[in-house]
């Protein structure tokens, strides 16, 4: 299995069927997401101006998107002025080539990486491996995912689906660590010993970027473990790969996101490590710095008026943690490095709505809206989901489902047709109804009755009842005539069974 990428290999429904069967994973996820949901609500409640911050967070990003070209050129000039190099990558292949070229020019056989979902998006590890260069993940969770040849299942906690016993066995096997127990302290120490040697001996590091400030050419990485700090300070050469939407105009803007991001993602007031660097500083830190500005479908998302808001995303993962679909199906069901609600809108758009598996993702939502409420930059994820559903449906060849919906719209746009259809269904349901309910439906609708009953059509519709009502003057006694005082609480549908 590759270490990432954005192209789903299966439909959401197929992948979810597999992940839902993993009861351990579901328990791990439910525990983790429930805990962080409650913590986030507390962390957010501490700030009286949270809603204002969200509005600002959205507004700054929208302003950036409207002037993206200008800010990227400013960023490029500022990075170069401080001794850095800037590369523009149209797609994943170009970005991989640039990183591999830089590493090769230094004769590197190994590079260390600080957690960067963007490098997973471009499948950098696989690309480097083809050139004989081994990429070593330094984030603990990323390392676990890499060593187990697994895929990340969460934006922020990539190994959220793994428990400690699994990790202990993995470290014993892959790192030769003599671990006696699965105590977190022991697990962390085993990883630390392995990584420390890598930090001190590897010449080239690759990082992602949470933000980049156009006015000063400063790159920012926000993290929890300190591995990022090591990666961006110890090696001789640093290559940072960032999506073009990560640029911010000024340092003042940064202040908004450094409040929004930690509280939304880890429910912390501030994350433990926030590293900034601007170009190179002689005698201190990496002496060669490369910034790769990655498009990979983003300008097409930018060109779409409704879809554009997706690019506000600061990868906090708040939407994953509140999503009831993610909580059950898990990250792997989304088949991409971008799981959860944000992945359901970002992945298909980055793939230009051309990948049929990715195109099932906008339907991987019950549209409950929890993601929109949690999003610190107010991305209206339900709106974009619906918008994408419309575009995908419009562009694909006609199916049986399409015919069904089109017929239904025709029927429902005229009351007499609608009423006729109900009468038809009421007559036709006969053999399906047992004790007032339907327990098995044929075809596509069978997905419902596999686990749920459906009420039968009652003998009278509302409008039939309405027509049968006495005239207003007669109504005074009608209620009492039908009164059923003292009637025990009994299921309605038994009263109405046909």
């Amino acid at each position: 299995m590759s270490a990432g990428g954005i192209v789903p290999q299966r439909t959401f429904q197929e992948a979810a069927r597999a992940t839902l069967a993993n009861a351990q994973m579901r328990r791990n996820l439910q525990h983790a997401t429930t805990t962080i949901r409650e913590k986030r609500l507390r962390a957010v409640a501490e700030l009286p101006d949270w809603e204002d911050l969200r509005i600002q967070g959205a507004a700054i990003k929208d302003h950036v998107m409207a002037n993206l070209g200008d800010y990227l050129l400013d960023l490029e000039a500022a990075v170069k002025a401080r001794g850095g190099h800037v590369h523009w990558a149209r797609d994943a292949l170009e970005a991989r080539e640039i990183v591999a070229g830089i590493a090769s020019s230094h004769g590197a056989r190994e590079v260390i990486k600080v957690k960067s979902i963007t490098t997973d998006e471009i499948e950098l590890n696989g690309g480097l491996a083809e050139r004989g260069i081994h990429a070593i993940e330094t984030d603990l969770a990323e390392l676990i995912v890499q060593l187990s040849e697994d895929l990340p299942s969460h934006i922020l906690v990539p190994a959220i689906h793994r428990n400690r016993a699994e990790i202990r066995d993995l470290f014993r096997r892959k790192l030769g660590a003599e671990l006696l127990t699965d105590e977190p302290k022991q697990l962390a120490e085993a990883a630390r010993l392995y990584l420390r040697e890598k930090f001190l001996t590897t010449k080239v590091a690759v990082s992602g970027a949470n933000f980049a400030v156009a006015e000063t050419g400063t790159i920012c990485v926000v993290e929890s473990e300190g591995n990022g700090r090591m990666c961006v300070t110890l090696p001789e050469v640093l290559v940072s790969v960032m999506g073009i939407e990560k640029v911010l105009p000024t340092w003042q803007d940064m202040a908004v996101y450094l409040q929004l991001l930690p509280r939304s993602s880890t429910a912390e007031r501030m994350n433990p490590y926030t590293s900034f660097w601007s170009g190179v500083t002689p005698g201190d830190g990496p002496q060669e710095f490369h910034l790769i500005l990655l498009d990979n479908g983003r300008t097409d998302v930018l060109a779409d008026e409704v879809g554009r808001q997706t690019l506000r995303c600061i990868r906090c993962s708040a939407c994953l943690n509140v999503c009831p679909v993610y909580e059950r199906a898990g990250g792997h069901a989304y088949g991409s490095v971008y799981p959860g609600p944000i992945g359901a809108i970002l992945t298909p758009q980055l793939l230009h709505l051309e990948n049929k598996n990715a195109n099932t993702l906008p339907w991987a939502s019950s549209l409950c809206g929890a993601c929109y409420d949690a999003c610190p930059v107010k991305i209206n994820i339900p709106e974009v989901l619906l918008y994408l559903r419309g575009k995908i449906t419009e562009d694909r060849p006609l199916s049986a489902e399409d015919t069904l919906f089109k017929t239904a719209a025709w029927v429902m746009s005229e009351p007499h047709r609608f009423e006729g259809a109900i009468k038809l269904a009421r007559t036709g349901q006969g053999p399906l109804v047992k004790q007032g309910a339907i327990h098995a439906l044929p075809g596509m609708l069978g997905g419902w009755t596999d686990t749920r009953d459906l009420p039968a059509f009652p003998p009278q519709t509302f409008r039939e009842w309405w027509r049968g009502r006495p005239a207003p003057a007669m109504r005074g006694t009608e209620g009492n005539a039908q009164a059923s005082e003292g009637q025990p609480l009994a299921p309605q549908r038994e009263e109405r069974s046909i």
């Binding site: 679909v325 619906l386 419309g390 919906f405 719209a409 327990h439 686990t451 009953d453 059509f457 409008r463």
Partner: protein, 247 residues
């Protein structure tokens, strides 16, 4: 005042008692209730499934039907959510300025039942009697799209004889999501299983909500388990009196 009912296609066809209860309740409060028989469906099912052109046909039909209403009231947060939140989107995405103007003129007069009673009419005690242990499921559209807040709870707290028990994880979706329940049945079922367990943990006789679509889902799960707990629409509880039991 004169209130136009929007009974919704699901209620009309499958849950007529909810519509009957809504009529009785509003008339008991002294209002004139009308039912325009031209009405059909809000188009949510089509819009949410990606059939936006087909939904537009139903959007136009709704606007034509209720154009002159003083207030349109529906016993469904989901369908009112469609009208208030998504009708403007439907018109915008279709590039139909005229429809958008009509929609914007109409939507401030379209209400979900509980918000209409509490926020618009200022009524919290509707004189209902329902001597049962009840838990309340906050439906997603009422909670997050319409922001009805505690309006349903205020109404339930004033129902005589009713013992209201809090539902754990009340803010979580039941997993219905319209065609989601059919397109992704396994995930939907996993969500439902937790909801059903939470409902059963309250030991309530009935689980209520402002939407028969969610209740149909939760009720479908409870019925399959033969759990004994049943689902009942909020309107039916509010319409019930000592003289006439609706729910």
């Amino acid at each position: 005042m004169t209130i136009d009912l929007f009974i919704t296609c699901l209620n009309d066809a499958l849950f007529p008692r909810t519509g009957e209860a809504t009529v009785k309740l509003l008339e008991r409060l002294g209002h004139e209730v009308r039912f325009n028989e031209r009405q059909t469906c809000c188009g949510q099912m089509h819009f949410n499934s990606g059939y936006q052109d087909d939904a537009l046909r139903l959007v136009r039909h709704f606007v034509e039907t209720f154009r002159d209403a003083e207030a349109v009231v529906a016993p469904s947060g989901s369908c009112v959510g469609m009208v208030r939140d998504l009708y403007p989107r439907a018109a915008e995405w279709a590039g139909d300025e005229e429809l958008l103007a009509e929609v914007n003129a109409l939507t401030p007069r379209v209400f979900e039942l509980s918000e209409f009673l509490v926020r618009y009419l200022g009524v919290e005690d509707v004189g209902a009697y329902y001597p049962h242990r009840v838990t309340y499921h906050q439906t997603c559209h009422a909670m997050r799209v319409l922001r009805v807040g505690d309006a349903p709870l205020r109404l339930l707290k004033n129902v005589r004889g009713l013992r209201l028990v809090e539902l754990p994880a009340v803010e979580q979706c039941c997993g219905f999501g319209g065609t989601f329940s059919v397109k992704n049945p396994e995930t939907s079922t996993a969500m439902l299983a937790d909801k059903v367990q939470n409902v059963l943990s309250t030991k309530a006789e009935a689980c209520t909500a402002g939407d028969n679509s969610c209740l149909m889902h939760i009720g479908g799960g409870l019925s399959r388990l033969q759990a004994g707990t049943r689902t009942v629409h909020l309107a039916e509880i509010l319409a019930s009196t000592e003289g006439e039991v609706f729910a």
